[in-house]
């Protein structure tokens, strides 16, 4: 039994959660980061390409075509399995999942059924109610389907078009145990999984681009009972926010139905983000019979210890380990550690800056990376080859921090220099020289400016003396403005207080 202590999710009345316990399992499909498709040599770089330009006899399901295994895709699932502490199958096999649909060219999907590559793993993540661990039933490999486009021709006929570019792209399916107990935990699971998949480099896991597709199986049971309620599968959630909203909606919808004595039906429902509600897609009265059987075109795949060790040796540091290292070894707060680890650009910058100058205080580096640098990361899409924002370099970021620490550069100026450096990649020394930035920390040099500001702002001075000490902040700002940000804010504040605290009339 896993400990799941979720805070009351927003949106669901506490009265509902007092009576019903949500039971949620999550299925995630993610496209793996490989150059070629799962069973053929076609490129996976088809985003934005004209329809049916990334195809071959294999992914079109032509007569006589045969699949061959993409080894990197297998390694990605092995990597994921190791990262979620799963058991890796020593020998796995491929199976055919049979069903007819125009987006499935062979009439079957090559997937894994009886023996997934990875089984019995877990993932731990933080929620507002504390850490939650969710059991992961399995992670397996399969191929993606083609894309159906429903369109109307110029003469008004409704047609369905098939684009086979996506057909046969490698897809990993990760299925949890029904361990999730709240919409927030569902969202957090998805967020943490995305972070993990990106950290280990197996998937870009972009939800909006369909690289990570989340489905939730939601049911309710009366508090204190064991038996599962009727399960509803919710699809079409293309953001983390919509995962949380959709699950909350389902919890409320199901609770209302149960309260009204209406039986729930096993069904698949789609999330309509605009309306903020789910709608019925199809009933699941009988479980579909996919007639799975071992794929005769592919021999069973052996995962020997040597191969697995190679994969393990290449495994990147996991987010959990990194967070714990940042707090325990580097002394960051849990909050800072979580913020930095959650963002690959921040994470990359943090480690690179520290590596470039280990003498820098980690807390200072964290402040820079999570602060102004983090904001730049949200605005600038460009990344250096080592994952830093814009054209920034770790050595220059370290230089910036050293100048601030040495009192050569005010924090206000440092922010400008950072912005410029990230955009242009120019050296910090060059930017500082070009702009003529020099921090003024000499109180006597600031004395005239301080006096001018006090004289020009009698209202603020009055407020301060009337017992509003926060008025000093406004005055500091005025001094900074007058010095183009070069004044040492600490020195300015001390000088201001010194003047303001003198008996009235001396100023």
């Amino acid at each position: 039994m896993t400990a799941v202590r979720a805070a009351p999710p927003t949106g669901v009345p506490a009265s509902v959660l007092e009576r019903y316990e949500p039971v949620i399992g999550i299925e995630v499909h993610c496209q793996l980061r490989t150059a070629s498709k799962m069973f053929c040599g076609c490129s996976t770089d088809y985003d934005g390409a004209p329809p049916n330009t990334h195809t071959c006899p294999v992914c079109l399901g032509l007569p006589g075509a045969l699949p061959t295994i993409n080894r990197l895709a297998v390694e990605h699932v092995l990597t994921t399995g190791l990262a979620i502490d799963a058991t890796i199958a020593a020998t796995t096999r491929w199976e055919r999942k049979n069903y007819f649909y125009p987006d499935l060219p062979k009439g079957y999907q090559i997937s894994q059924y009886a023996i997934p590559l990875a089984a019995a793993g877990r993932l731990t993540f933080g929620t507002s109610g504390g850490d939650v661990t969710v059991g992961i039933t399995r992670a397996h490999l399969e191929e993606d389907t083609a894309k159906l486009v429903h369109a109307t021709t110029p003469d008004g006929r409704k047609v369905s078009l098939v684009d086979f570019n996506r057909s046969g792209a490698p897809l990993m399916e990760i299925v949890t145990e029904p361990d999730v107990r709240s919409a927030e935990a569902a969202r957090r699971y998805a967020e943490e999984l995305q972070l993990l998949l990106r950290a280990i480099g197996v998937s870009n896991a972009d939800m909006e681009r369909g690289q990570m597709r989340v489905e939730a199986n939601v049911s309710l049971r009366p508090r204190g009972t064991e038996a599962f309620g009727t399960r509803v599968e919710v699809k079409n959630m293309n953001s983390f926010r919509s995962v949380e909203r959709a699950v909350n909606f389902e919890i409320e919808r199901q609770a209302a139905a149960l309260d009204a004595g209406q039986p729930l039906v096993q069904e698949t429902r789609g999330w309509d983000d605009g309306r903020g509600s789910t709608y019925q897609m199809r009933l699941k009265e009988t479980s579909e019979d996919y007639r799975y059987f071992p794929e005769p075109d592919l021999p069973p795949l052996k995962v020997d210890a040597v191969w697995l060790d190679e994969v393990r040796a290449r495994l990147a540091e996991l987010p959990t380990a990194r967070r714990s290292r940042y707090t325990s070894e580097l002394g960051l707060s849990a909050y800072d550690a979580a913020v930095i680890v959650a963002d690959p650009a921040m994470s990359a910058a943090f480690s690179a800056v520290l590596a470039s100058d280990p003498s820098l205080p980690p807390k200072e580096v964290a402040n820079l990376v999570a602060g102004d640098y983090g904001r730049a990361a949200k605005e600038i899409q460009e990344r250096t080859p080592d994952g830093l924002v814009g054209r920034s370099s770790a050595a220059e970021l370290a230089e910036l921090l050293r100048r601030v620490a040495a009192g050569e550069l005010s924090r206000a100026n440092a922010k400008e220099v950072l912005g410029e450096h990230v955009r242009s990649g120019e050296a910090v020394s060059g930017i500082v020289a070009a702009r003529g930035f020099r921090q003024i920390s000499d109180a006597s040099a600031l004395s005239d400016v301080v006096d001018e500001v006090l004289a020009a702002n009698p209202a603020a001075v009055g407020d301060y003396r009337a017992g509003k000490p926060q008025a000093v902040g406004f005055l500091v700002g005025q001094v900074m403005k007058a010095t183009r940000g070069q004044a040492n804010a600490g020195v300015v504040q001390a000088a201001l207080r010194e003047r303001l605290d003198r008996p009235a009339g001396d100023a």
Partner: protein, 526 residues
């Protein structure tokens, strides 16, 4: 002037090298005969004269270039260079049709070459066209072709066997010296037997299946037909070997000795001395025609007389071969044939919902035997039946394989057995009773279930119709099987039936002769 169509492929190869004949002359001669007789035989679904002549000219150019370069360059040419060949119509040839004998692939043109097509091009073979077959290779008579049955050159009102009936009949009728077939349960060996020629089903994994329209993936193998062992061996050599695109093709080297089987009968017969052959008693099945058994036993006696030691052996799970085959093969076929939905290629019938179009396209595109097997396979894989049928059949398959393995461990070099329990049967004789048709493969399909190589060679006539003798070997022992076959040819070189040509070839030449479809129609109406 010699009739070029009566030459063996290895004789053609020698004449080509010496410049005594050109590939174009060989091709013209075979095309003319095929075009003349195809009305009566319906062995061919496509005869591609233009493509064949272009390939023949290319082969002549290669020959000329090699001769100019010297003897070593000529020796380096593959013996199949310039040799006319027929391909079963489930082999993909870029730009050409590949119907697999089915309406559902009507109009489909393969946009790519099968692996074996590439290999044949590399070797320089001249592809004359594509041959008739039972729809999706499901059948033992070629009567299940959507394009009408093929006639047996030995008796035009009889079947050539199947499913590779067109490829067998074409070689028996001298339309080509060699051809390609596929064998899932006997589809090369049984028509070879019924048409009086040589046909080999290689070890599973020996020849890449890439580009071959699939029937049952774990059983399908591609193999050669020829009128003698040496030609069949040379053709196997040209197409066999590992192909990265077929994960089930094995990284096992292909022996070059396939190209140097003994030409002299004395040397060839010597191979038999001291060989230990097993004669599986279960292969003399109930319903076997006495004349067939008589011919096979006579052949066994001849082998013994030539120095082989033959012991009766038992393959105790043989009886289960047919039942398990008809679970495994249809199960795989039910999935393999799911792609024929009219969406991407082939006729799309119906003008309604996706489901209505599926039902119309597949309902009218597939023939009754194919539908029967799709239903069998779908049922066997259904939830609740999978364990009882498919899983059980796979376990029995292991037992069948172990029967053979035990004999190899006991030191047998090969097994000798009948190929087919009967000679060629009349059109319509088994169409009403699928199980009697299925029994045609009782002696061949256990070999597919075990993944082993098997070869059928002619061993005489019964009432004027050919009888086949089957040699079965351990995995990868094709060379051994060809040596045995060549030895058997040598020790029977003087037999009265050896030089006989198929009795009905003269009638096949007659433009007034009815087509096989007309013939079959008359027979089924009577």
């Amino acid at each position: 002037m010699i009739d070029l169509t009566r030459l063996h492929a290895h004789e053609m190869a020698r004449l080509l090298r010496h410049g005594d004949v050109t590939a174009r002359e060989l091709t013209e001669a075979h095309l003319a005969l095929a075009e003349r007789q195809n009305r009566a035989l319906n062995a061919w679904l496509t005869i591609d004269r233009d493509r064949a002549l272009a390939e023949a000219d290319a082969a002549d150019a290669r020959l000329a270039a090699a001769r100019a370069e010297g003897a070593r360059a000529v020796d380096a040419l593959h013996p199949i260079l310039g040799i006319p060949i027929a391909l079963k119509d489930l082999v993909s040839v870029a730009g050409g049709k590949a119907t697999a004998g089915s309406r559902i692939l009507d109009g489909y043109r393969a946009p790519y070459d099968a692996h074996i097509t590439e290999r044949l091009r590399d070797a320089g073979a001249v592809i004359l066209g594509k041959t008739n077959m039972d729809e999706f290779a499901m059948g033992s008579s070629t009567e299940h072709s959507a394009y009408g049955p093929t006639a047996n050159p030995w008796a035009l009102d009889r079947v050539p066997g199947g499913s590779s009936g067109g490829s067998a009949a074409a070689v028996a009728a001298f339309h080509a010296p060699v051809s390609i077939g596929t064998d899932t349960g006997g589809s090369i060996r049984q028509p070879a037997a019924l048409c009086g020629i040589v046909g080999l089903k290689p070890t599973y994994g020996r020849v890449s299946r890439y580009g071959i329209v699939a029937f049952a993936s774990s059983l399908d193998q591609i193999g050669p037909f020829a009128r003698n062992a040496r030609d069949a061996a040379a053709l196997l050599h040209a197409v066999a070997g590992r192909d990265e695109r077929d994960s089930t093709s094995a990284p096992v080297s292909v022996p070059d000795e396939l190209l140097s089987l003994p030409a002299a009968d004395d040397e060839a017969a010597g191979w038999l001395r001291g060989k230990r052959l097993g004669l599986p008693r279960e292969y003399f099945v109930a319903g076997m025609e006495p004349q067939v058994e008589h011919r096979v036993r006579a052949a066994v006696a001849a082998l013994e007389a030539a120095g082989a030691r033959v012991d009766e052996v038992s393959l105790p799970h043989t009886d289960y071969g047919l039942a398990t085959y008809y679970i495994v093969a249809p199960a795989e076929a039910s999935a393999n044939l799911a792609r024929y939905d009219g969406i991407r290629y082939g006729p799309r019938l119906g003008n309604g919902t996706v489901l209505e179009n599926y039902l119309a396209t597949r309902g009218r595109g597939f023939g009754p035997e194919v539908k029967r097997r799709i239903m069998l396979g779908t049922y066997a894989l259904s939830a609740g039946y999978y364990d009882a049928y498919y899983l059980k059949a796979q376990k029995v398959r292991t037992l069948i394989k172990q029967d053979f393995d035990r004999l190899w461990l006991e030191g047998f070099d090969a097994l000798v057995a009948p190929t087919s329990p009967t000679v060629a049967f009349p059109f319509g004789a088994k169409m009403a009773d699928p199980v009697s048709m299925y029994l045609s493969d009782a002696c061949t399909l256990p070999v597919n279930m075990a993944g082993l190589p098997g070869i059928s060679v002619p061993c005489g006539l019964a009432d004027g119709l050919p009888v086949g003798l089957q040699f079965i070997g351990a995995a990868w022992s094709e060379l051994e099987l060809f040596h045995l076959s060549r030895a058997y040819e040598a020790i029977t070189a003087g037999a009265d039936w050896r030089g006989l040509e198929p009795a009905d070839l003269a009638r096949a030449d007659d433009p007034g002769t009815p087509t096989p479809a007309e013939r079959a129609g008359v027979l089924s109406a009577s």
